[in-house]
Every structure is written in C-alpha cells, then in structure tokens.
C-alpha cells in the first residue's frame, strides 16, 4: 500500500496548520474541497470498489442536506445531530436505490440511477411551497455563536472527513472490502464462491449513501442553503471527474482528486465555466490513457523514482487489489 501511516500523519499536520497560515478565503475553498472529498470517497466505495456505477450519489448528499435542514427548521434539532440524521436518511434512501437496482448491470444501473437522481431534483425544484424550489432552502448555520469565522467549520469538516476515511479504510481492508472487490471483479464468480452478492451490494450502497448524506448535511448548514442544484448531474459529473482523475482503486485517489480539482476550479474561476471544460477533457484523457487514474499512479511513479535516492524504501508499484 503506497499510502502509509507517515503520509497520513504529514497530511493531517498540514491540514491542521493550514487555516492559521492561509487567508480565510482559501480556508473556505478547503472546506468545500473536503466536502467533495467525502462525497468522492463515498462514491468510490460504491463504484470504484464494488463496481456499481451509480449516478445517484449527489442526490444522496442532497437528501442529507434537506433532511438536516427540515429537522432544524421545523423541530429545532441542532445541526450537529442533523448531520447524523441526514446521513441516516441518505443511507436509507441509498439502501432503497441499491435494492431497486440489484439485478441491473452496466448501462441499466446507470440509467436507473440517473432517472432516480433527476426525479428527485425535479420534485425538489417544483414543490416550491415546501423546499423554496431552485432558490434553495435557508437553513441555520453550524456554529451561530462563532459568527462568520471559517475556522470552526473547517475543523468540523476535517474531523468528519478524517473519521469517515478512517472508517471507510477499515471497511475496505477487512473481509468486507474483499467481498466488495470480488463483486467488482466478477459478480458471478463471487456469487459461486459463496459471497452473498445481494447483501454486500446493498450494504455498499447503504454505507456509501450514509457518508454522502453526512457530507451533504454539512454542506447545507455551512452555506446555510440547501438547493436542488447540489443534486444535479453536473455536480455528479464533477465528483466523478475527481474520482477518475485521482484514481478509482484506493481511497487516497478520490481525496486527492477532490482537493486538486476544487483548488484548480478556484484558480480558473475567473474564466467562468472553463474549468468544467478542462475537467471533462482531463477525465476523458485519463480514462482513455491512464484507466487507473492520473494523480495517485503519477505520485507512485515519482515516489518509486526518487525514493531510493533519498534512502526511502520504494513503495510497491502494485495497485491495491
């Protein structure tokens, strides 16, 4: 495994000092990047590891956002509890979607999940009386007592991302992760070998949906706005391009993809939508020429080359299987 404990600790240390050194605006950018990183990692559990290419992940994030938003608006539930409730609701919805799509493969699964996601977005946009339509639902902030400082939400999102990645990594390195990957490699063979493919596919959907829901609930409270646009196919495409560019077969790939692309999108924002053109192009080229992803394999190659010169033991070039 290329990502080892020292790497994680260094990354964590950098993430902790970041908001004290960088301007407040870039702290904001990093919060958004962590949000995308969590959604990307959760999608990667369903698509990258289990091989179920669902397009409903941003709908799950939006379900988390609306759940927490409605709970805090109507019952006064504090946002921190709302995050968990949003995750639970999205997990339940994702369980349903996964169950619905059990027998579907490839393009059929993609079409059904696109249909689900678009239905949800259309209903949320149309039921103006309840959701305020495309204007978006105003929801309470995370930490009203600390005003507009970006530092408390930054550390909350960092903690959520850290804990979620830890849980996901534990799942993926356990027997469960092996079952997920066996379904990706060959569902029929896995089934013959005694893997309960039905159970583990639905489980991957549920766990992936939960983390997307938590991320979506955080995003809603952080921006104080829940909007159906979060669940659009364009947003889904952004997340997919992050995972594809980062690398589909590990957790570090989606996270790095999200950080890189969100950072790059801020850099290119002055040119309007140009960054989406570049992301689309980058995604196509990565798929065509580097199907294992761009960032992580590139890093591996660099590490293998300069590692020995620095006296570091070269990391295994074998992809994580």
């Amino acid at each position: 495994m290329i990502i080892s404990k020292p790497h994680v600790l260094v990354a964590l240390a950098l993430a902790i000092v970041f908001p004290f050194l960088a301007p407040s605006y870039w702290t904001h950018v990093m919060i958004i990047a962590y949000y995308y990183a969590l959604v990307a990692a959760s999608w990667s559990l369903i698509a990258g590891f289990t091989g179920q290419f669902s397009f409903g992940q941003m709908a799950m994030a939006t379900i988390g956002g609306y759940t927490s938003g409605f709970l805090s608006l109507s019952l006064g539930v504090p946002p921190l509890i709302g995050l968990v409730a949003g995750g639970a609701m999205a997990g339940a919805a994702s369980y349903g979607l996964g169950y619905l799509c059990l027998r579907m493969r490839g393009p059929y699964l993609a079409l059904t999940t696109i249909a689900f996601s678009e239905c949800f977005r259309l209903v949320m946009s149309s039921e103006f009386e309840v959701t305020r339509g495309t204007l978006g639902l105003s929801v309470p902030p995370l930490f009203a007592q600390w005003g507009t400082s970006k530092i408390p939400p930054y550390f909350l999102m960092l903690a959520i991302l850290g804990v979620s990645l830890f849980i996901l990594a534990r799942i993926l390195s356990s027997r469960l992760g092996l079952f997920f990957r066996s379904i990706r490699e060959d569902e029929d063979a896995a089934s013959v070998m005694g893997v309960d493919t039905t159970k583990y596919k639905v489980l991957a959907f549920t766990v992936g949906g939960f983390f997307a829901g938590v991320a979506g609930a955080f995003f809603g409270h952080y921006l104080q706005l829940v909007s159906p646009i979060t669940g659009s196919l364009g947003e889904m495409g952004l997340v997919i391009s992050m995972v594809v560019v980062g690398g589909t077969e590990s957790l570090a790939g989606p996270v790095m993809g999200a950080l890189m692309l969100e950072g790059a999108s801020e850099y290119f924002r002055v040119y309007g939508e140009l960054y989406k053109v570049l992301f689309g192009l980058l995604m196509i080229l990565t798929l065509r020429f580097m199907p294992r992803g761009l960032l992580l394999p590139l890093l591996k190659r660099v590490a293998a080359k300069i590692g020995p010169q620095l006296g570091v033991k070269a990391a295994s070039a074998e992809p994580i299987r």
């Binding site: 619905l100 493969r105 249909a115 495409g237 939508e273 196509i284």
Partner: protein, 303 residues
C-alpha cells in the same frame, strides 16, 4: 379551456405527434448505437445540442439558407460522432481498455460534460433563436398548428423513413443488422465490424444532430438543451426494448402522447410544466423493474 373540447384535444394530439417524431430521431440514433455496438451513448443529448448550435451558427451567424444550414448541421453532428467513435469508442473494441461497459459509460459521460461546458464558454448561457424553417400558421378546420412545427415534423418523418430504408433495403443495412444480431457470425462472413461501428455511431449522431437542428428554432438553442431530450432517448430505448428499431419508434410516439396529455390535463399549470419531464423517468424505472425486455425487445434479456 374545457378538458374534453375537441379542438383542444386535436391540437394536443398534433403537438404529441411532433414531439414524438423528434424523440424518435433521438431514440433511433441511440437504438442503432446500442443495438449494434452494445453501448449507451451518454453524450447523445450533447450531440443534439451540437446540431442545434451548428444550425444556429450556419443560419443566423453566417446567414446561410435554412435548409442548407440543416444539412450542414447534420453533417457537423455526423463528423463529431465519427471523431468520438474513432478516438474514444473504438479502443474499447480492440482490447485497449479493461472494462468496456464502465469505460464507455464514464467516457461518454465525461464527453457530455466537456461538450456542454465548451458550448457554454463559447456561446454563453443565453438561449439563441435561430431562424424558423417556415414562419406562419397552418389552419385546418378549428385546429391551428404553427407551420414551422408541421414542416419540422415532415422533415423528421422523412429522415426516419430514409434511415429505415437504409437499414432494411440496402446491403449496408443488412450488414449492420447482421452485426447487431451476432457480431462473431458477422465477422465470419466477412463483414468489417470495425467499419460498421464507425458507420453506426456516425449515423446515430447525425440523427441526434438532426433532431437538435430541427427543434432549435422552436425550443431555442442553449447549452443544456440536450439534457432532457437525451434522457428521453434513454427512456424510449428502454421502453421499446433496447436495440429494437420498431420498438423505439412506437416508444417515442407513446412518450410524446403521455407527456403532452398528462401536462395538458393537469389543472395547475406551473406544476404541469415542471412535472412534464418526470413521467418518462418513472416509465424508465418501471420498465426496467417490471419488464426489462421492453415492449418489443428480445425475451430473457437481463437488465
């Protein structure tokens, strides 16, 4: 506006047929691509958009005659299709990518992001109105339809008929159908499957581009104009039975009828308009769950 007023009913029927023909152009292209190459082109809506914008550039900006512009727009979409097939789809047939299904889904999805945003950057988000094919109104008894829509419908029917003739009355069509039925057997009898793939994708995209170019004067040209027509195309090929040509045409007319009549008879107009796009999505999910082989598809197909 009485619900059972015959004038209202027949006007809506005319609208349904027009929409059905446009859907049929989209769906026939997708059906050919799925039937012959076994891939779903998730960028088909963006090919439709390319057709719409190519027509706008030719007819509005360059001031070329509308019908010549239509031909140019179809040609542009066909070239785009050929380029996509050569550069991105054909590697999946020569064993250069590991998982063909996942690769083609993701690469065409990435392509749709790329194409949509490229047009957004170049032309901006504002809708453009290219010149109409035939201004004026057509009245028959109490039914009034804009002449434009009528002309578009007839051109659409003509293109559909030409495609069907190509498929069922020429040797190329026979070769295409052979590849669709059994790729290996077609190779054995000497059909160049590689060339058939390129032809299929080009033809499919030409039909999608034609649909976009035909509707752009009516529904305007804007960057995400193709999103819903693309999704409707998926709905129809699933409803008709993936890869079935007659199924896709029947499915198109059915979807046109369902959309127009459900919207026309829902009392709250704002809701009726907003939910117009939902019926197809519900049909899609229901068909995949209850009858995955679709209306006229092969039996025993697994979704």
């Amino acid at each position: 506006m009485l619900p059972l007023d015959p004038t209202f009913f027949f006007t809506q029927l005319a609208n349904a047929l027009i929409i059905g023909v446009i859907y049929a152009l989209m769906a026939l292209g997708l059906t050919l691509i799925f039937g012959i190459m076994k891939i779903v082109n998730f960028a088909h809506g963006e090919v439709y958009m390319v057709g719409g914008y190519a027509y706008y550039v030719a007819a509005s900006l360059a001031g070329i005659d509308v019908y010549v512009s239509l031909v140019l727009a179809i040609g542009t979409a066909a070239l785009v299709g050929l380029a996509i097939e050569r550069f991105l789809i054909s590697p999946s047939y020569t064993g250069k990518v590991e998982k063909k299904d996942e690769y083609t889904i993701l690469v065409t999805f990435g392509l749709s992001i790329f194409m949509l945003n490229s047009v957004l950057v170049v032309f901006g988000p504002w809708p453009r109105r290219p010149p109409s094919y035939a201004p004026g109104l057509f009245t028959m008894g109490t039914i009034t339809v804009s002449l434009d829509r009528l002309v578009v419908t007839f051109i659409g029917i003509g293109l559909l008929a030409a495609t069907l003739l190509l498929l069922y009355r020429t040797s190329i069509g026979k070769a295409l159908r052979a590849v669709s039925q059994d790729r290996e057997a077609a190779l054995v009898v000497g059909i160049n499957a590689n060339r058939m793939n390129a032809l299929t994708f080009t033809l499919g995209c030409a039909l999608g581009g034609a649909a976009g170019a035909l509707t752009s004067p009516i529904f305007l040209a804007y960057p995400d104009m193709g999103t819903f027509p693309g999704i409707k195309g998926f709905v129809i090929i699933v409803l008709g039975g993936m890869g079935s040509v007659p199924g896709s045409i029947i499915g198109s007319i059915l979807l046109g009828l369902v959309e127009v009549f459900t919207s026309a008879y829902i009392p709250d107009p704002r809701r009726a308009f907003a939910y117009r796009d939902i019926y197809g999505l519900i049909i899609l999910v229901l068909v995949l769950l209850l009858r995955p082989s679709g209306l006229l598809g092969e039996k025993g197909r697994k979704a």
